[in-house]
């Protein structure tokens, strides 16, 4: 099996509500897999179970054939999974480069060291990561004063710090301007290609989804209802009904992008 990530009948219930219902899928090496669906479909819940923020009610998660169900986020991270958040999470009292150095300190097991100066450690490697995401010229700026799009880039650099085999991105381009979205996703796609990484991401921007994903899964009310490449999903009547919306406007718009 070539699967980087595999879920088996993953389920999460909150009281009587079944938020995620028997979701099974597999993610191949080097693949960019998009998970789409209307709000409340269970995408973020699914994500949070993969990374360990939520405990699954039942079902299993495997990372490269090793079961990781129920592990805490920091343990999942150690296994080689990086993630970015829907609402950015950065260390606001630190500089840009220190945000990245923090992840490197953790990766190299330096956290419990009391003597060295933290800001001198792994500085070159952090600069390389910032270069990768195009933030190197802002390395010493205070994180709290940056624009939202820049914070997203920093998050990406943080997520890449331990060269993960799998990257989970929860709405990576939400809240960004159209130009920034394209830039960020092209950047992500390039990094994934270069490093042989796999990506699972949720997204509402169909431009982004159709342009950059190799495969698309659609969720609705906790269930996977469709799976396929961009053309298949675009033409799937069920998907059009619950998510994309019907009408010719959409298809013609997509056609003009192609």
């Amino acid at each position: 099996m070539n699967g980087v990530l595999k879920t088996q009948r993953l389920t999460k219930t909150f009281g009587g509500l079944i938020a995620v219902d028997n979701v099974s899928f597999e993610l191949q090496k080097g693949e960019l897999l998009a998970l789409i669906g209307p709000n409340g479909a269970g995408k973020s819940t699914c994500f949070n179970m993969l990374m360990g923020q939520l405990k699954a009610t039942s079902g299993k998660v495997y990372l490269a054939n090793e079961e990781i169900t129920g592990l805490a986020p920091r343990q999942v991270w150690r296994k080689g999974v990086g993630r970015t958040f829907q609402i950015t999470a950065t260390y606001s009292s630190m500089t840009v480069i220190e945000n990245v150095q923090m992840a490197l300190l953790s990766h190299y097991g330096d956290i419990l060291r009391f003597l060295p100066r933290a800001h001198l450690l792994h500085r070159d490697e952090a600069l390389n990561l910032l270069d990768l995401v195009g933030m190197v010229n802002q390395a010493d700026r205070h994180c709290a004063v940056l624009a939202y799009g820049d914070l997203k880039r920093i998050e990406l650099a943080i997520a890449l710090a331990h060269s993960p085999m799998l990257l989970l991105m929860d709405e990576p381009t939400a809240g960004m301007a159209p130009k920034e979205r394209v830039d960020l996703m092209e950047l992500t796609a390039k990094i994934v290609r270069d490093q042989g990484m796999s990506v699972l991401f949720t997204e509402h921007d169909m431009d982004v989804v159709f342009t950059h994903s190799h495969r698309i899964m659609v969720m609705n009310r906790g269930k996977l209802i469709a799976e396929g490449d961009a053309a298949e999903i675009r033409n799937n009547p069920l998907v059009q009904e619950v998510y994309l919306g019907g009408g010719t406007l959409f298809t013609s718009e997509v056609a003009s992008h192609a």
């Binding site: 990374m51 805490a72 986020p73 920091r74 991270w77 150690r78 990086g82 993630r83 958040f85 999470a89 950065t90 260390y91 606001s92 009292s93 630190m94 500089t95 220190e98 150095q101 923090m102 992840a103 300190l105 953790s106 990766h107 330096d110 956290i111 419990l112 060291r113 009391f114 003597l115 060295p116 100066r117 933290a118 800001h119 450690l121 010493d140 700026r141 205070h142 994180c143 709290a144 004063v145 998050e155 943080i158 710090a161 331990h162």
Partner: protein
Amino acid sequence: MEFFVAQIITGLANASSLFLVACGLSLIFGVTRIVNFAHGSLYMLGAYIGYTFMQVLPGGLGFWSSILLAGLSVGVIGVLVEMLVLRPVYKAPELFQLVATFGVILVIQDIALIVFGPEDLLGPRAPGLRGVIRVMGEPIPKYDITLLVITPIVALTLWYLITQTRVGVLVRAATQDREMVSALGVNQAWLFTGVFGLGSALAGLGGALQLPKGGADLLMDFHILAPVFVVVVIGGMGSLPGAYLAAVIISVLNVFAVTYLPQSTLVLMFIVMIVVLTIRPYGLFGREEVAGEHGQVGEPERPIKPASARMQLLASGLILLLAMMPFYTASFSLVFTTDVLIFCLFAASLHFLLGLGGLVSFGHAAYYGGGAYVAALLVTHVNTPMELAFLLAPLGAGIAALAIGWVCLRLTGVYFAMLTLAFAQLLWSLVFQWGEVTGGDDGLVNIWPSEWLKPTIIYYYLTLLFCVGGILLLRHIAHSPFGYALRAARDSQRQAESTGIDTRKIQLLAFGFAGFMGGLAGALFVFSKGSVFPNELEIARSFDALIVVFLGGVKTLAGGVAGGVFFKGIEDILIKFEYWRLVMGLLIIFVVILAPEGIVGSLRKGAERLNLIKSRHM
């Protein structure tokens, strides 16, 4: 059985003022997010003002009007405090308002002393309610029965006000989302003022109502504070039924404890609190606090950097000056400087936790006093040599901090703060009531250093070495990977946990380390004074450290030390005057209003504006 019922009735009666004061505090916190340390002072004022009115107004009508008037007057005082002291500092960083309310405590203490005199006042009996009623053969004071009736009426009225009226809707909405409420066009300033006034009036009412049972004295402000915090936390922040139930539980248990286990009275409520919070982390009726959805108030904290060459030179000069001190000053200034140094180490240890870790401990005196007591107990009971006791003290404090931190870190925000306070009070109560071992109120005396360390100059150097060393170590660790991880856990626990950092472990270690350093300060203290008393463990001591850290500047590395020097220095000058608390309180309030980012933070800003230093806030 009869006795049992009588006990319960007494407990219920005692619960009444506790409930009133507690729901006032809870209300104020819910809406304004201010932990009002001065709430006990408002309660005290209620008692004094009620007493004064009762002297003038005759008869039953006079008595009850006095109680109402006391409530009203304290409400007005609350409104004034809110408008004059708190309004200017709402924009300051979170919890900074604590410092302002602490200033209010000091001011009210001295005003009460000036206006009402130092004697304890015996509360007048309620006219027409002097006797007792026999309930199942047991005598119950009529006044207790009256209280039993009044409290539910007040509680129901409040409940009606909060749940059924328009004002109540606004109050509840503001408790959940202040920004939204103000975006909807509600004048937030007046809502805050109104709620603060109402909360204060409740405290005043509570103070006046308990007059026939307890009277009025100048210590009642701090004495009520701990039980009130406990009640609010057990009941759940912002919950009226919770506050009532908790007040009843605490009061009834207390009545039984007085009868059956008198030495446990002080400890008991903290044990109840710890048990409740272990089972229900947010109190009986409380909900988990949702962390501020709108980001932190005020300017974000700046990145830290190791001291520049200029600052290092300045610090070295200062240390040199301190080291040369025995050559140019008299020995009493050495004693004073010793005190300041110890206090600075104590404050710096709290700053480490509070500033870098974002862990607001209300009970840091537990480790300072704890360290002092570990040393004193070792010397007194097992004849430990001073040097060994001195080394074991911080170790003991550190271990205590690890244990306490392990429990407290299950909670966050104000519940965490209250639980740390509870543990500190638990230690204080143990020391206070376990007289055979700890000497109780008489403390432990004759705890002197070994012969070779006895001379003032030598002990001064010992203090200098450990305090400066300790402070520099704390500062160094702030710049180490561990210190960075501690700040990362504070800035974004989500991101830290998702990048492999065990934030709870980091915080726990920081808690233990801060406790260790606090214990070191305590050990230095006990051998410099030769004695230790329970007041080194009490709330006021914890508050001292807290105030100093905020005053100096939470968001600056040097905040703890700068605040410590300022606070001790001023205190030393002022304490010679009769009404030093008044001046000190006013001074604190002024600093809070003029320098809302703390002394160091505001100085830095001023210097940046004048282009004396480069801004790091690019």
